[in-house]
């Protein structure tokens, strides 16, 4: 019985082996048939000769050397390059042509095709199905890889660099033509014209890098494609998607596409596309849509995209209907949404997006603004109707018109759209690639936009500031922006100008609805001076800083470095390095990537001056992912980002709120060095120790007003009456600490995770001693003047 069973198993094994051989021979592409070796020393010295001898399923192994093209592959073989053999086209025609199905072609350098556009001279032309073109380098080819009626192809991991011609005279780096089911994956394309994908269904285009061309991707008549994880940068247009259904565009990084149309993503006559979790950064237009969807029962969905720093975030033709914009983040686009031809959009849904220019409030703290986002700017409206007006886009004229519209409601335009549930914080797309090929600014970028986001811009708008949210922020006043630089603006360093204060604030009042957050505040900050805004949380310090940065409309006059914050917020922000209270980093990015990204955004060098780099201890941070950094290190990184471009002013909003004692001390040592080096510093704090270390002058802020101003000596006098000592103890010992202090006759109460004690100023150490005597550890303490403490909470 067992013998019979053994024979049966052996027969079965042979049968399976036979079947495998048979199928391997027939399918060929993955087969390991006979190997023919081509090398300059033989046995074969010509690739074409070896191909002539090869049988279907053979492997032709080509070793390093230069071999004359053109090469025509007419049998289903594996062509494997070892040691980068070169197929040299000598500037004529197509270099490699594959006309047999199932061919594998990988590991070659394919060089120097002809340059006839009409003949479509290519590096590798494929005209048969199921071909794999993998891991090749194409150099000086007019068209790169051309799939012509070559379905189910795989084009993977190739590096394609076109001829150094003007863009219109170049060929397409990759052209997919009537080749359904193909996969284009992990290729790097530089100096091509376009990557063209026409008349092909079910394509997968994943993880490619396309830069320096005309159209990063151009889809026409391609249904059901997945476009994922690509980096489309520095092209004229990132991805132009046309006449296709059900395209899924996700997690792509699309930036710096600034040609004549300059779309990050353009959609024309598209149906049922899903555009999600992409980063669209610094394009002329982030997303452009025309006649999409074109069919009555079709919907276009855009969700969780980050659309940041584009001239126009989203541009829609007025006829566009049935577009859903959900949970996208619109960050500092010069115009968030533009309607070509002006007017108002209809039948589109805008819901739950984050708008960096939203000035509403979130009274119930649910993360959603309580009033709708309704952008309405007269100049933008006019510009939509009369495109030549774009000439005036950044001029005082535009400003004057918007001002007139504000003042005279009769000319106020209808809002372009309404988002009834605007988010108070941005949504960060995840999983977008960080390009390896461009480490100097690779940064998985947009992630970083929001990452240090706090540092440069994002934080200014939305991250943190619970106090502001609860107080409420009034809504829909458009914020004037983009005025050209004024002659009196900070430019020269003449002696006379040095006498002018760097910051002048007169009668600053900020209302949120009926609530007055800042009332009639006036002060100056001299050049090279360090000034503290000192007061309890909720006193109005953050609001003052945000007004100074031009982030809120306000009453009164604020001039920073010669620019009026009310109209020239962007110019002011260029002049100021800002460190917000709450940072939000992307953990996967390295320190260098983060710095490089912000440097690029600010159009400055990513290199800090050696002195600052050393002071900040950047060497210690280099090579680390942000996620590995301690709180103190992150704060140093935030300061480093703020110092990019060496701005003369630094604004810091409670910069050490989340640091331990040691990190705080180190950070303030750094700030002192910056002050001593001539930086003008305005910072907010509720910690007396910080103020004492850094500030030349102190403005005591209470309930939105500056109640006193003067030197530290003056300040000491104001707190003679008594201080509040805030103590941080073990979480489990808070109640006990309160009891111990009260038993010792001190006025103590619990406050969250800490303890507050009110004592005369000459007894401020006493609470610590009392607790120490009772065996309770005090980890940290803060002294505040009794008058500035907001006992009512925030």
């Amino acid at each position: 019985m067992s013998t019979l069973w053994t024979r049966f198993r052996r027969a079965l094994a042979f049968l399976l082996l036979g079947l495998w051989w048979a199928s391997a021979g027939a399918l060929s592409a993955d087969a390991q048939g006979p190997v023919l070796v081509v090398s300059p020393e033989g046995p074969y010295t010509s690739v074409q000769e070896a191909l002539g001898e090869a049988s279907p399923g053979s492997t032709v192994e080509v070793r390093g050397g230069v071999y004359a093209g053109p090469l025509v592959v007419e049998k289903p073989v594996r062509l494997v390059g070892v040691g980068w053999p070169v197929i040299e086209g000598n500037g004529e025609g197509t270099v490699v042509k594959i006309v047999a199905p199932g061919v594998y072609f990988g590991g070659f350098v394919v060089r120097n095709s002809g340059d006839s556009l009409d003949e479509e001279n290519s590096g590798i032309a494929v005209e048969a199905p199921r071909v794999v073109v993998e891991g090749n380098r194409l150099e000086e080819t007019l068209f790169g890889i051309y799939l012509r009626e070559a379905s189910d192809a795989v084009v993977r991991g190739n590096v394609i660099e076109g001829k150094a011609l003007e863009v219109p005279r170049r060929g397409d780096a990759i052209r997919v033509w009537y080749s359904s089911g193909s996969v284009i994956e992990g290729n790097v394309v530089r100096r091509g014209r376009d990557v063209i994908l026409w008349y092909s269904e079910r394509l997968t285009v994943r993880g490619n890098v396309v830069e320096g061309g005309r159209y990063g991707l151009h889809f026409m008549y391609c249904d059901d494609a997945l476009i994922e994880g690509n980096q489309l940068v520095d092209n004229s247009v990132g991805a132009f998607l046309m006449y296709s259904r059900r395209l899924h565009l996700r997690r792509n990084f699309i930036a710096y596409n600034r040609g004549p149309s300059g779309f990050g993503v353009g959609l024309k006559d598209m149906d049922d596309a899903l555009v999600e979790e992409n980063l669209l950064v610094d394009n002329r237009v982030g997303i452009f849509a025309d006649n999409s969807p074109r069919e009555i029962d079709s919907v276009m969905t855009y969700r969780r995209n980050l659309i940041a720093y584009n001239d126009v975030g989203v541009q829609l033709q007025p006829s566009v209907r049935r577009n859903r914009y959900e949970a996208n983040s619109f960050v500092e686009n010069q115009e968030q949404v533009h309607i070509a031809g002006g007017g108002r959009l209809r039948e589109n849904v805008w819901e739950g997006n984050f708008w960096s220019d939203y000035a509403g409030y979130d009274a119930n703290g649910d993360g959603v603004g309580d009033v709708s986002y309704r952008p309405q700017r007269l100049f933008e409206d006019l510009m939509g109707r009369y495109p030549p007006l774009q000439l005036f886009r950044y001029s005082p004229v535009a400003q004057a018109l918007d001002f007139a519209a504000e003042a005279v409601p009769l000319v106020r335009p209808q809002p372009k759209l309404e988002d009834r549930a605007p988010r108070m914080a941005p949504v960060l797309p995840e999983g977008v690639p960080a390009p390896e090929s461009r480490p100097q600014w690779a940064f998985g970028v947009g992630m970083a936009v929001l990452a240090v986001g706090g540092v440069v811009l994002m934080g200014w708008f939305s991250l943190g500031w619970p106090g502001d949210r609860r107080r409420g922020r009034r809504g829909d006043l458009p914020r004037p922006r983009f005025l050209s630089r004024q002659p009196e603006a900070l430019a020269a360093n003449g002696e006379e100008e040095n006498m002018e204060p760097m910051v002048t604030v007169r009668g600053l009042t900020k209302r949120f609805g009926r609530f007055v957050a800042v009332r009639d505040v006036s002060f100056d900050v001299g050049r090279g001076e360090a000034v503290a805004l000192w007061g309890a949380n909720g006193a109005g310090k953050t609001t003052i800083l945000r007004c100074l940065l031009g982030l809120y409309p306000f009453e009164g006059d604020v001039v920073v470095g010669g620019y009026h914050a009310k109209w020239q917020g962007r110019e002011v922000r260029r002049l100021v390095g800002f460190v917000p209270q709450e940072l939000s980093f992307h953990d996967d990015l390295s320190v260098e990537e983060t710095l490089a990204f912000y440097a690029r955004l600010r159009k400055t060098s990513p290199e800090l001056s050696p002195d600052w780099a050393e002071s900040l201890g950047l060497e210690e941070l280099v090579g680390k992912a942000v996620g590995e950094l301690s709180g103190g290190m992150k704060q140093r990184l935030a300061l480093a980002v703020a110092l990019l471009g060496d701005p003369p002013l630094l604004f810091l909003d409670e910069p050490t709120a989340n640091l331990d004692v040691r990190s705080r001390r180190e950070f303030f040592d750094l700030l002192c060095r910056l002050r001593d080096a001539g930086k003008t510093i305005l910072f907010s704090s509720h910690r007396f120790d910080e103020v004492a270390v850094l500030a030349d002058r102190v403005l005591v802020v209470e309930a939105g007003q500056v109640v006193s101003a003067g030197t530290l000596g003056d300040l000491a006098a104001t707190i003679e009456g008594g201080v509040v000592v805030r103590l941080l103890v073990e979480p489990g010992q808070v109640e006990e600490a309160v009891r111990v202090l009260q038993r010792a006759g001190l006025e103590a109460e619990r406050n969250g995770t800490g303890v507050w004690v009110c004592v005369p100023s000459h007894r401020k150490v006493e609470p610590i001693l009392v607790l120490a005597g009772a065996g309770l550890s005090v980890y940290d303490f803060v002294l505040e003047p009794f008058s500035t403490v907001d006992h009512g909470g925030e």
Partner: protein, 148 residues
């Protein structure tokens, strides 16, 4: 004073808004590599396929593909004073009504419509002999897209 300033600004806008559309008789200028097709919004790069028309009101529309011009014209229904296309060989402007068109499957035009134009019928027929396709006039071309 402010009222005067505002009036001046409005006048300035009006002048700027009207400045681009001054009527002229000849073919319009196309800045290759810069101008964008009014239909597909892509950059116009290749004069051989580029087309344009001028409306009765003096506005100019520019296209990267002859087919796009016809699609746009039919869709918008604009009143057109003159259509212009290029001779495929010489790249010279030709009035569309006087041109001879070839639709050929072997020509890849920027938007895939597959039309080229010639100033003379001989050139068009020579082209067809070499590349295949059919010869037609502008009226027939409009009918291909459902026009009158």
């Amino acid at each position: 004073m402010r009222a005067w300033a505002l009036a001046a600004l409005v006048l300035l806008f009006w002048v700027a808004a009207c400045g681009g559309g001054a009527p002229a008789d000849g073919p319009p200028e196309v800045r290759y590599g810069e101008d964008v097709c009014d239909e597909c919004h892509m950059i116009i790069n290749d004069a051989r396929f580029a087309a344009a028309y001028r409306t009765v009101g003096g506005d100019v529309r520019r296209f990267d593909d002859i087919g796009d011009m016809v699609v746009y014209y039919i869709r918008t229904g604009e009143e057109v004073a003159a259509f212009w296309v290029h001779d495929y060989g010489t790249k010279a402007w030709v009035r569309a009504e006087e041109a001879v068109f070839v639709r050929s499957p072997s020509v890849q035009t920027p938007m895939g419509h597959g039309f080229v134009a010639f100033a003379g019928r001989d050139d068009a027929e020579t082209f067809v002999a070499q590349h295949g396709g059919e010869v037609m006039g502008f009226e027939e071309l409009l009918k291909v897209y459902g026009g009158r």
